[in-house]
Every structure is written in structure tokens, then in C-alpha cells.
């Protein structure tokens, strides 16, 4: 009984060639071999976080890829239902732990949608400043991880050197290196320390001068890099939109969609930046997108520092928040794509339901579609294209 169920379960996830092979199990290739099933992860040295891939291999070609998740599931949505509104913010830090500021921002926007509180302009600037620093601290290591998966060790050291310095800035501003709890409902926790704007400026100038050398010249023309990434994970625009991709995996196919411009929140309409797209739709294109987005983030950080007004950093709010009944939505462009929060309020001081739409979760659906047909070692560069984070897809 159980084995029959299992068989049906597995069969339903098969791709066409694999299904055909299963329908005619006696068919062998010219050497008399059949496909083998292999489990990759959850504890695999190259895997991004805790993900298990059930792979069906024909020689070294993948015929079927079935991601299995849930190894880091904490049921964040259930925990959030049992806490007061402000007490959920530190939990959102633990979602996508490479984009903590964006998670906090998304959640806070959803609550503010129900509260109609006015956020002071200085707080909005600080939020965007921190979000863009966070984007740098996520994109640069993701380039390093991609190179690590291809066997190059140096870029990850450069990447973590930069991330370390950004984390030092975060520590000075928020008091924590990763789990910030900095963006609050109605503003931010505290104003920037007086010396920090100058330090951020100096750091950004330094990064800009190093960037070309450390992350572009070192990687871009490399023959091994090109042969391992060009044409790998290639997908069309229709496929990308159909699969619900957002962020760099969508923009690398040429679809011009960025929430910062197309669904403006905070002070992004007042700032100048370009939305980067590429047409190739493969791993190399996603690398180019991330490089160019880092430069755009540097541009945004400079504008934030130049234009930042003086004033309060916290809006006028009561001690106990009771948002009105209804649905609150918050959306931000996280480094991986669209991070959305949907809060259903029943008028009490705890949310009735919190739902997170995490970009890693949605973007990972492309594994099922894109990996079949590739060689086994190409899986890791494709994971580098998506750049998923375990805490994000598992909630």
C-alpha cells in the first residue's frame, strides 16, 4: 500500500523523458544501463543550506530533480500568530538571514499599512540606507559563493572581507551583527551615531575603487568561469514569469521588473537608480546583474547620505498597537526578489495570520524545470543563479 503510494507520488513529479522511461522500464541505453536515483543533501558540502534534491541520473545527466525542503522549518507564521505585533520583528530577522533588513522592512510596512502611522523622513532615509548596505552584504558574498561552487576560493575571501566591514557598520548602528531588530513600526530603533555617516561614506568610496579589481577583473574574463556558467541554467522570459521568479533570476532573462521602481515604497521614488537587466538568462547573466546592482546600491547609499534630512527617527505611536481589522500588505525588493508580507488583523494586539512570501522559496521552483537536461556538476552553478537562503525557503 505504502509503496504504491510512494510510486504514485514519485511518478507525479517526473519530467517527460523520465516518465516515458518509467512507462517502459525494460528500455535500456546502448550499454544496457538504466537510470539511478541519487539523493543530494541535506548535508552536502556544496549545498546552500539544508536542501535535499532527489535526482534521477542517466549517466551524468539529470533526468529529474525533486527538491525536498522542511529541514529548517520553524513555523514562523504560527509563532507570529501568538505574539504581539512589535515582538514579531526579531523573528523576521531569522527568515532570510542574508537579507534581515529587508525582512524587517517588509513586515513593518505591512503593519504600517493597517495603522496609517506617519514615518518621519529621516527614518525612511535610514531604512533605505540600511537596506542598500544589506543588499551589498548579500550580493557580494553570493558572487563569492558562486565562485566557490566552481572551485575558485579567492573571491569568497574578498567577498567576506567586504561583508565583514559592512557588518561592522551594522554593529555600530544597530548593536548587532546579523539579527538587528532595528527597523521598528513607525520608524527605526535609534538615530545613526554621529560619526557613522562619514564612516559609511569612506567605506563606500573605498569599495567603489576596489570593486572593479576584486570582483570584475578577477572573475569576468576567466575561461573556466565562462565555460562553467555561459548557457547553464538558460531559461526564456515566459518560463521565468510563469514560474513566478523575481529579482536577479527574473531580470537576467530581460524582464524589467524591480519593486523599488514598479511598486515604490519608502523614499525610492526620490532617488535615482537604474534597473539592471540582461538578455542571456543564464548563470553568467545573473552574475553580471549582481555586479551591476552592487554599483547601483553604492549610488543609492551616496544619495541617501547626501540627502538625509535632520529630525526625529520614530513616529508617534501608542505603547500597545491594535491595528484596524483587515489586510495589510508589505512588499520590498530583497536581494533575492520580491519579499512580501500579508497580515490579517482582527483588531486585537496579535496578528490573526501572518504570511510571508519569500523570494528564495518561489525562485527555487525553477530547479524542477531547469535542472533536467543539465550535467550533475551544473546544479551548483544553477543554485548560485537562484542564490536561495535556507531560512527563507523554510520559514
Amino acid at each position: 500500500m505504502l509503496s504504491e503510494e510512494r510510486r504514485v507520488e514519485q511518478q507525479s513529479a517526473l519530467t517527460e523523458p523520465a516518465a516515458a522511461r518509467l512507462a517502459a522500464p525494460d528500455v535500456r541505453d546502448e550499454f544496457g544501463l538504466e537510470t539511478i536515483d541519487m539523493s543530494m543533501g541535506p548535508q552536502h558540502p556544496a549545498m546552500h543550506g539544508l536542501l535535499r534534491l532527489i535526482l534521477e541520473l542517466d549517466g551524468e545527466t539529470v533526468v529529474r530533480c525533486d527538491p525536498v525542503m522542511g529541514y529548517l522549518h520553524r513555523c514562523q507564521e504560527k509563532i507570529a500568530e501568538n505574539r504581539m505585533y512589535p515582538a514579531v520583528i526579531p523573528l523576521t530577522d531569522r527568515l532570510d538571514y542574508f537579507a534581515n533588513m529587508h525582512n524587517e522592512h517588509g513586515y513593518v510596512l505591512a503593519v504600517e499599512d493597517l495603522l496609517d502611522v506617519e514615518v518621519p523622513p529621516r527614518a525612511e532615509y535610514i531604512r533605505v540606507l540600511m537596506s542598500e548596505l544589506m543588499r551589498l552584504a548579500s550580493h557580494i558574498p553570493s558572487i563569492g559563493f558562486l565562485m566557490l561552487e566552481l572551485g575558485a576560493f579567492t573571491p569568497i575571501l574578498y567577498a567576506f572581507r567586504e561583508r565583514e566591514r559592512i557588518q561592522t557598520i551594522f554593529e555600530a548602528v544597530t548593536g548587532a551583527r546579523m539579527m538587528f531588530h532595528y527597523i521598528r513600526i513607525g520608524g527605526v530603533k535609534a538615530d545613526l551615531p554621529p560619526d557613522i555617516p562619514q564612516k559609511i561614506w569612506d567605506y563606500i568610496e573605498g569599495l567603489e575603487s576596489r570593486f572593479q579589481n576584486d570582483f570584475v577583473d578577477l572573475i569576468q574574463g576567466n575561461e573556466i568561469f565562462i565555460s562553467r556558467t555561459r548557457g547553464v541554467g538558460k531559461m526564456t522570459q515566459e518560463k521565468a514569469v510563469e514560474m513566478g521568479l523575481t529579482g536577479p533570476p527574473l531580470r537576467c532573462t530581460g524582464v524589467d521588473f524591480d519593486l523599488r521602481r514598479d511598486y515604490p515604497y519608502s523614499i525610492y521614488p526620490e532617488l535615482e537608480f537604474d534597473v539592471i537587466t540582461d538578455t542571456a538568462g543564464d548563470v553568467e547573466a545573473s552574475y553580471r546583474i549582481r555586479i551591476a546592482e552592487c554599483l547601483q546600491s553604492i549610488r543609492l547609499i551616496k544619495q541617501c547620505l547626501e540627502k538625509m534630512p535632520e529630525g526625529a527617527v520614530m513616529g508617534d505611536l501608542g505603547r500597545r498597537l491594535r491595528p484596524k481589522e483587515g489586510d495589510g500588505f508589505g512588499r520590498v525588493e530583497s536581494p533575492r526578489g520580491e519579499f512580501a508580507v500579508h497580515i490579517v488583523s482582527d483588531g486585537s494586539d496579535t496578528p490573526y495570520r501572518v504570511h510571508y512570501r519569500d523570494p528564495s522559496f518561489c525562485n527555487m521552483q525553477l530547479l524542477q524545470e531547469v535542472v533536467p537536461g543539465h550535467y550533475l556538476p551544473d546544479i551548483m552553478p544553477i543554485m548560485g543563479l537562484i542564490d536561495p537562503v535556507s531560512g527563507g525557503w523554510d520559514k
Binding site: 522570459q237 515566459e238 514569469v241 510563469e242 521588473f257 514598479d262 527555487m364 521552483q365
Partner: protein, 163 residues
């Protein structure tokens, strides 16, 4: 082949969507709230309305699906976006102990995992789904659906004492 993105003023587009849905389907409620079209339909019409959204109105992006346990009924929200900021919130309510609703995977393939998650967390079945397995929880020996209001977390008592 390229994906065509919508053009024009956001308000006009939202009005166009509202009329587009209103002319083709019987809507229980329809309004524009805070820059988004909010429509409520009967559960049997969901697939038809989603097909209209994608094919006739060109809203290509399904952002997420939220299920809310209203104790006795389930409220399902489909959040759509047209890649230029025009949002459509489609709501429906299904009743019963073992709720069933038609799948959206035929129209929006990305709904696949969203529906698997909803099935895992709430036990809402999606008729016609190609691969309806649990997503996070164990496949065998676990018949609970954690996000139901009837599934109490063990520390619940402590929180109620504090409140």
C-alpha cells in the same frame, strides 16, 4: 518571444481591471482600496477569474496565496500583480471540514508550491493539482496541519497568562 508589460497610468489600469472582472464574472464584492483592486468571488469561479486575469487582462505574476483559518471556513487570498505595480487581491471563502478548491496551477504554474504549502499547513485540498504532497512536514505518520487554529502550540498557556 518577449513578455509584454502593461503601460499607462496606474489608476486607469486598476479601473480597467475592475471593469474587466466585473463585465465577465459575477463578483460578490469589488472595490479599489489603497491602490489595489480587491474582489471577492464564489469559490467555484476562482479558476475562471484567474484565467481572465492572466489571459484577457495580462496580469502575469501570481505573487502568493494566503489561506486564513476562520474556524469553520477558510478564506483564500490570491495576490496578483501586473509587473508594473497594479495589484489585484482575489478573495474567496470555502466552507467545511475537508475543504476543496480548484487548483490555479493550470493558469499560474508558480501556484504549485504555494498550494502544496497551503495543503500542508491547513489541509486545504486543491482539486486537479499535479503533485499535491506535503511540502514542509513529514510525508508519513503526521496527520496534523500546524497552522489551523485548533493546533495549539505548547507554550500557548504561558502567553495567555501574560496577556
Amino acid at each position: 518571444m518577449a513578455v509584454t508589460l502593461p503601460e499607462g497610468n496606474l489608476e486607469d489600469r486598476l479601473k480597467g481591471y475592475l471593469d474587466g472582472f466585473g463585465n465577465r464574472h459575477g463578483l460578490l464584492e469589488s472595490e479599489i482600496v489603497r491602490g489595489s483592486v480587491r474582489i471577492v468571488v464564489a469559490p467555484g469561479d476562482v479558476q475562471a477569474v484567474l484565467a481572465t486575469a492572466k489571459e484577457a487582462l495580462g496580469i502575469v505574476h501570481l505573487s502568493f496565496i494566503t489561506v486564513v483559518d476562520r474556524v469553520g471556513s477558510f478564506e483564500i487570498t490570491y495576490e496578483l500583480m501586473d509587473l508594473r505595480g497594479g495589484r489585484v487581491t482575489l478573495k474567496t471563502t470555502i466552507e467545511g471540514e475537508e475543504p476543496v478548491i480548484g487548483t490555479a496551477t493550470g493558469i499560474y504554474p508558480t501556484a504549485n508550491w504555494h498550494e502544496r504549502e497551503a495543503y500542508d499547513m491547513f489541509g486545504v485540498a486543491f482539486a486537479g493539482h499535479p503533485d499535491l504532497r506535503r511540502l514542509y512536514m513529514w510525508q508519513d505518520h503526521f496527520d496534523h496541519h500546524p497552522l489551523l487554529k485548533s493546533f495549539e502550540i505548547t507554550t500557548r498557556r504561558t502567553f495567555e497568562g501574560l496577556r
